[in-house]
């Protein structure tokens, strides 16, 4: 049976996903609070996998929590920390517990995280992980051995529409779709005219695209992303707009900007939905959606 998220994607409605960020440690109260707050407001919640290579509570545990609390999880899986045995095993576990949506990512370098001396794995890459999921669905593992009990996933991947140069990214994007990606959640986009151009190209492929929206919390945060986050470019006029906010009002300005962008994406029917990343401010997703008229 298709997952609830897959049904939402296929329904033609404007799909909204957001993130639940696992905690550093076993105190899950904050995460539970965000899940309870958002699970009925969005179509699915991504659970990040050691985001930025910082060791945390596992995405699998977080996705299970979303499921147990009645939400619809999207399990994020990076290729950074597990080889093909561990990735397949985790997929079997996910399937056995009703976690049926997976976002396949390469994963940041361990050098960017908090365990800089760790051995990076990258046994598979993101397109190979998508292919591995399709392989498991065929009833066999990657080594060709029969599975006792099958799996069914809605598998997705990411793309960076503002990457420079863009062409190598697009070739990888097409490989992910050929490998079997059904949905794409994009890296944050701020230049919507550029995103429209990307979508004119992406529309030719049989894949649902959710535009990534990262909540701006201050002008310095926007400048920090421009300097440090690959493929994210906050245009100067948005930085100026953030800087023009009255003292203490930057977050509200960021919510207003995110809401405005989502509204435009929806009104101009640019893509199939949005993926809202309110990093560290997950409770604000509700305000962003309200500002977007959702």
């Amino acid at each position: 049976m298709p997952s609830a998220f897959k049904k939402a994607l296929d329904s033609g409605k404007f799909v909204v996903t957001c993130e639940a960020a696992p905690s550093k440690g076993t105190n899950l109260e904050n995460m539970k609070h965000h899940i309870a707050l958002l699970k009925d407001k969005v179509d699915a919640m991504n659970v990040t996998d050691h985001q930025s290579s910082v060791m945390r509570y596992p995405s699998l545990g977080g996705a299970l929590l979303v499921k147990e609390m009645g939400g619809e999880p999207i399990l994020q899986m990076t290729c950074r920390d597990r080889n093909r045995l561990a990735l397949q095993a985790d997929l079997l576990f996910a399937a056995s517990r009703g976690i049926n949506n997976v976002l396949c990512l390469t994963g940041d370098s361990v050098m960017l995280g908090d365990h800089k001396d760790a051995k990076a794995v990258f046994d598979l890459d993101s397109s190979q992980l998508v292919a591995a999921i399709r392989r498991l669905e065929s009833g066999k593992d990657m080594a060709g051995n029969e599975l006792d009990g099958g799996v069914r996933f809605c598998a997705g991947a990411i793309v960076t529409p503002e990457a420079n140069p863009i062409e190598p990214q697009l070739i990888k994007f097409e490989k992910k779709i050929e490998a079997g990606a059904e949905f794409i959640q994009t890296q944050a986009v701020y230049d919507l005219d550029n995103f429209k151009k990307f979508m004119e190209y992406a529309r030719q492929f049989p894949v649902k695209v959710l535009a990534g929206v990262i909540l701006l919390t201050s002008a310095p945060m926007a400048r920090f992303m421009n300097k440090n986050v690959a493929g994210v470019t906050v245009p100067q006029d948005l930085i100026d707009e953030m800087a023009s906010a009255p003292k203490g009002g930057a977050l509200n300005k960021g919510i207003e900007i995110a809401g405005r962008m989502i509204r435009r994406i929806k009104e101009e029917n640019m893509c199939d939905g949005v993926h809202i990343m309110a990093i560290g401010k997950e409770e604000k997703v509700i305000d962003i959606m309200a500002a977007a008229g959702l």
Partner: protein, 218 residues
């Protein structure tokens, strides 16, 4: 020419590794480490001075022509006495040299260098790793640029999302392998090669530790 690229360990680590050894013999090498200025004659002399200042007795020093060559043992024969007097050998060569010497002299060997990679000199004083010796070469499909070596993550199907302006997410001075490959294949009119899905790699093309014997002729 391929070179073994090395970097000198900190003097603190060398002190720790030589703790309890009052008498030290120092061996450098005239090949790769001379080129990288990590274990040639000037570096050996500087190390001798440093160790002497730390209160060690340096029983002798030499710079052998090619430490990883089996002839190294013959070169060391003339130093029998100072070698015998030493509590340990501080070896300022790459790990190939250290292991060549360790196999034949019954003394504790202390590497003074860390061996970083096998690479080549790509500019004055600049060295780059070009082959990881993975045993499953795919550069026939990538325009001769190795993504297994040149991409920080060893990705074989194109760039990750961390690439920015043609550079790598771990260092804005490092080229993104997949930007290089894309540009090369584009120039060659062979972008179709980049579009080809590469299956998961065989990570055991040659299981570690590598071992090879020339097959007996039939």
């Amino acid at each position: 020419m391929i070179r073994s690229i090395t970097q000198q360990k900190s003097i603190e680590e060398i002190e720790r590794l030589t703790d309890g050894m009052g008498r030290i013999f120092i061996i450098g090498c005239g090949t790769c480490v001379t080129l990288t200025r990590t274990g040639g004659a000037p570096e050996v002399a500087a190390m001798q001075q440093q160790l002497t200042e730390k209160g060690k007795v340096v029983t002798g020093t030499t710079v052998v022509p090619v430490a990883c060559d089996n002839l190294t043992m013959d070169m060391l024969k003339e130093f029998q006495n100072p070698l015998k007097q030493a509590d340990g050998l501080l070896i300022m060569t790459c790990a190939f040299g250290v292991q060549t010497i360790a196999r034949q002299i019954s003394k504790m060997v202390i590497p003074a260098l860390d061996t970083l990679f096998v690479g080549k000199e790509t500019g004055a004083g600049e060295f780059n790793e070009v082959c990881l010796q993975c045993g499953t070469c795919i550069i026939g499909e990538t325009g001769g640029i190795c993504p297994v070596t040149t991409c920080h993550k060893g990705l074989v199907n194109g760039p990750c999302g961390g690439t920015n302006n043609g550079k790598c997410e771990i260092d804005s001075n490092k080229d993104c392998a997949w930007t290089l490959i894309y540009n090369r294949l584009k120039d060659l009119g062979r972008l179709d090669a980049m579009r080809k899905y590469q299956k998961p790699r065989n990570h055991l093309g040659e299981p570690t530790p590598g071992k090879f014997k020339i097959p007996a002729s039939a």
